[in-house]
């Protein structure tokens, strides 16, 4: 049962051997994310923080300073104004005015009036305090429950060790994506939650494909050292992992470049997710299996006496 005969053209990179390097890198990135989250935090959108957002476009160039002056006369507290889609467009974000929802409706009207005629209002949103709290909670629940259910599914289909390793790898990718949102200051809104869940799905997909191969190889090479077995599995899948990552990137990249501003943050998170998902499937989840209690199930399956498990 010489391995070389089975995989003469395949790569033989010692991923497991390089795991300390990978762990160091992961740890550094992780610290970076924590630092960024604690210093910069997340730029919560109005979905989660409540507030007013108005996007308007005029037929002429718009002077931001002028708009700011007009709006600040309304005493609405902190109002951010920026150009969007060229010099004719503006986006205006105001924090939630105190008082009930009626105050917000009135604030929107006041802003629109202050801007004066000549503007076409392309987008107008406000999210009340009760709603934004609910949205944030629902978003967090969705992410948490998704991760947990996926882990349970992996546990049922494989073994609990795989479930734990998969969960850690997925959590790793979600954390990294949070880091991207924090570091770039991209708005973290409902769509961001969708992005997080999407990349959680992608990440676990990558991980499962490798786990599937590990399971198959455990049945096949009962005597092979577990570390070696993981190396074999990752190498056998390496081409496919790269190929799929490439295909998904190629499909998403035009969206990133031409998809417009409403999709930019979303696709950027997905692109990063594909990269970290590939990385974590190769390094994090597979290498973690080494530190788990021995997995005997498939090795013991057929001929227990002839091939005692040595993991």
């Amino acid at each position: 049962m010489a391995l070389a005969k089975y995989f003469p053209h395949a790569t033989k990179i010692d991923f497991v051997g390089a795991r300390y390097f990978a762990f160091t890198l992961t740890a550094l990135l992780f610290i970076g994310v924590i630092v960024s989250l604690s210093i910069r935090g997340l730029n919560l959108g109005i979905d989660f923080e409540g507030g007013i957002l108005i996007e308007a476009v005029a037929k002429h160039k718009v002077d931001i300073g002028d708009v700011r002056k007009k709006v600040s006369a309304l005493n609405l507290g902190d109002v951010q104004v920026q150009h969007v889609g060229g010099e004719n467009g503006i986006m205006l974000r105001a924090e939630r005015p105190p008082g009930d929802e009626g105050a917000q409706v009135r604030a929107i009207e006041a802003i629109k009036k202050a801007l004066g005629p000549g503007f076409e209002f392309r987008r107008q949103e406000f999210v009340g305090p009760k709603v934004s709290e609910g949205l944030f909670r629902d978003g967090m629940i969705a992410t948490g429950v998704a991760l947990l259910l996926i882990a349970i599914y992996v546990w049922i289909r494989f073994e609990w060790q795989f479930g734990v390793a998969g969960l850690v790898a997925t959590a790793h990718d979600v954390t990294m994506a949070l880091g991207v949102y924090s570091a770039t200051g991209l708005e973290f809104d409902l769509t961001a939650i969708a992005a997080l869940l999407t990349l959680a799905g992608y990440s676990i997909n990558e991980t499962i494909v490798i786990f599937d191969r590990v399971r198959e190889n455990m049945r096949r090479y009962k005597k092979t050292d577990f570390k070696e077995l993981i190396n074999i599995s990752v190498n056998q899948n390496l081409f496919r992992t790269m190929m799929t990552g490439g295909a998904t990137l190629v499909a998403v990249l035009p969206m990133l470049i031409f998809g417009g501003e409403s999709l930019f943050a979303f696709t950027l998170a997905i692109v990063f997710g594909i990269i970290t998902g590939t990385y974590s499937a190769i390094y994090v989840s597979s290498s973690l299996l080494i530190y788990m209690p021995a997995i005997r199930r498939w090795r013991d399956e057929k001929d227990v006496k002839a091939a005692p498990a040595k993991a």
């Binding site: 995989f7 003469p8 395949a10 996007e55 009930d100 929802e101 409706v105 929107i108 009207e109 076409e120 209002f121 392309r122 987008r123 107008q124 406000f126 999210v127 009760k130 709603v131 949205l135 978003g139 629940i141 969705a142 998704a146 259910l149 996926i150 599914y153 289909r157 409902l190 769509t191 939650i193 969708a194 869940l197 999407t198 799905g201 992608y202 499962i208 494909v209 599937d212 191969r213 198959e216 899948n237 081409f239 190929m243 799929t244 490439g246 295909a247 998904t248 190629v250 499909a251 998403v252 990249l253 035009p254 969206m255 031409f258 998809g259 417009g260 409403s262 999709l263 979303f266 997905i270």
Partner: protein, 543 residues
């Protein structure tokens, strides 16, 4: 895996043909799709507000008032029944979500309890006929000599339910009186309603129409205190009400209304002496009551109250028995027209506040859809080039499967009437990636098997068989993620979840079935000695 049964072949073919049929209406314009006869598929998938422009409003009922009204009713009927049946009581008061009193006379405690139970039962009524199960909103508790009637949690839920049920119909009549706009009104959670109006970017008018309950009541006015001030203390049975704008001052009206807006059958804006007025008609009962009041109160003032403000206080000139009347307030044509509309639609059972609003102008939506479609098509083209350059003929097979994946996705979305949102387009692109992944897994496996020395046929077989578990496991996890987005997400995120779940499901079918049929039939036809995926050096293609 190389044996394709007749059943498999034909069912795959039927799925594809059906998908094409149900997808086809989307190629037509909206108008011509609507003119299709009903026996052919004619549904198109609908575009989300972020793509076609429109307004999304989340309304929340102010349940506090409804609950307080209900409690006040319970207190009043308790007081009345206790008095009528001569049960001594003291400290009749509100406690939390209930009403409590003490019966100092121990001999009367049982009687007091049974009165409370009757009141509690009657307060639960309202809806439901004789045989319908009456839902009890209240329960009665006796502790020592104190009796309390409390609103239960189920009672609160039932009140919510009733308010929202009633409100949805009234909201629709107010926002879309002609029934021509495709307004979506749906319940969300306990006391919230989502209103979606496509094609509207100015929500001012909508908000004005839903911003008031438009509860109209007709009251008699105190006979002697005609010009009270805001400090006037209302005598028992009377209430001090502020005048609406234009009707400055205060009015002392009889607490109990003589008539209310539910008896109106029609209302419209008209002119009298060049000024806008509202003309209305009562139903038969309303007309009879109105006739009686006007007969008995000639030359006395009368107050028409709308949402706790007096909008008009005319002096009754003569008996009005024709069943119709007018309101002369300080109206503009616009406000009179709106009020007439609100009166026709009926009063809302509670005040509704806008707690979330999202409006997308039509041009922004058009820009978004253009960018989205452009980017998706470019993405598909790039993936096609990528796959064909890597896998040759098998890449072509994969792209054919991928195309059907998109068609099936669009067909299912049309049939379900699912909404395509901008994140939904991103979801499609992502499911394309997953679909390609399945093909990559299969082809890479075939390559491995060939390298391991297998024949082409057995490599094809092993490729499909061995890749199957990895594909199904990974697809199921993606579907889990999609379903959770649908369950917990809201708005565009929900749309994304649906699209992702359907897309991944469809890709499972196309990658396993369609690719397999193509590859197997290709092999049967040519009996090749080698597979096209082996012609290129594998690593060069992936770089």
């Amino acid at each position: 895996m190389i044996n394709i049964t007749r059943l498999q072949f034909w069912s795959a073919l039927i799925v594809c043909v059906l998908a094409l049929l149900f997808f086809a209406p989307n190629l037509l314009s909206e108008k011509s799709a609507k003119s299709l006869p009903s026996y052919v598929p004619h549904q198109q998938f609908s575009l989300g507000l972020d793509l076609q422009g429109g307004a999304y409003l989340l309304l929340e009922a102010e349940m506090k008032d409804v609950i307080n009204d209900s409690l006040r009713g319970v207190r009043d009927s308790l007081r009345k029944s206790l008095r009528d049946q001569r049960v001594r009581y003291e400290e009749l008061r509100f406690v939390g979500r209930g009403v409590a009193f003490r019966a100092p006379d121990a001999a009367q405690l049982d009687k007091a309890k049974s009165i409370a139970e009757t009141v509690a039962r009657d307060a639960g009524g309202g809806s439901g006929g004789m045989f319908a199960q009456r839902q009890t909103l209240y329960d009665v508790r006796v502790e020592g000599n104190s009796v309390s009637v409390r609103l239960t949690d189920a009672g609160v839920a039932s009140l919510n339910q009733r308010v929202i049920d009633q409100a949805m119909e009234i909201l629709r009549k107010r926002i879309d009186p002609e029934g021509t706009r495709e307004v979506t009104i749906q319940r969300q959670g306990d006391a919230r309603v989502i209103v979606e109006v496509p094609g509207v970017s100015d929500t001012e008018e909508i908000k004005r129409r839903i911003g008031t309950t438009a509860k109209m009541t007709f009251h008699l006015v105190h006979p002697s205190i005609l010009t009270p001030t805001k400090d006037t203390v209302a005598p028992p049975g009377y209430r001090l009400v502020k005048g609406a704008r234009g009707e400055e001052g205060y009015y002392l009206v009889v607490d109990e209304p003589e008539l209310d807006g539910t008896h109106l059958t029609d209302a419209s804006q008209q002119f009298q002496d060049g000024l806008p007025i509202i003309a209305f008609r009562f139903d038969t009962t309303g007309a009879r009551i109105f006739c009686k009041i006007t007969q008995e109160n000639i030359r006395k003032p009368f107050a028409i109250i709308l949402d706790n403000e007096v909008i008009s206080a005319p002096v009754i000139q003569s008996a009005i028995c024709g069943g119709s009347g007018i309101i002369q307030g300080r109206f503009t044509v616009e406000s009179a027209t709106r009020l007439a509309l609100l009166l026709r639609a009926g009063a809302l059972p509670a005040k509704f506040n806008v707690v979330e609003e999202r409006t997308v102008g039509a041009t922004l939506g058009a820009d978004a859809i253009e960018a989205g479609i452009w980017a998706s098509m470019l993405g598909v083209a790039l993936v096609a080039a990528y796959m064909i350059s890597a896998y040759g003929l098998f890449g072509v097979f994969a792209i054919i499967a991928l195309t059907f994946n998109l068609i099936i996705l669009a067909a299912i979305m049309s049939v379900l009437g699912a909404t395509l949102t901008l994140p939904g387009i991103a979801g499609i692109v992502l499911s394309l990636g997953m679909s390609v992944d399945a093909n990559v897994l299969i082809y890479e496996r075939m390559r491995e098997e060939i390298r391991a020395g297998r024949t082409t046929l057995s490599a094809i077989d092993a490729g499909f068989r061995r890749a199957f578990t990895a594909i199904s496991d990974s697809n199921i996890t993606s579907i889990i993620a999609g379903l959770l987005l649908y369950l917990f997400g809201s708005g565009p995120v929900k749309g994304f979840g649906v699209t992702l779940a359907i897309g991944v499901g469809a890709s499972f079918f196309t990658a396993i079935m369609l690719t397999r049929i193509q590859v197997v039939y290709w092999w049967r036809w040519w009996r090749p000695k080698y597979l096209p995926i082996m012609r290129k050096t594998p690593l060069a293609a992936g770089a």
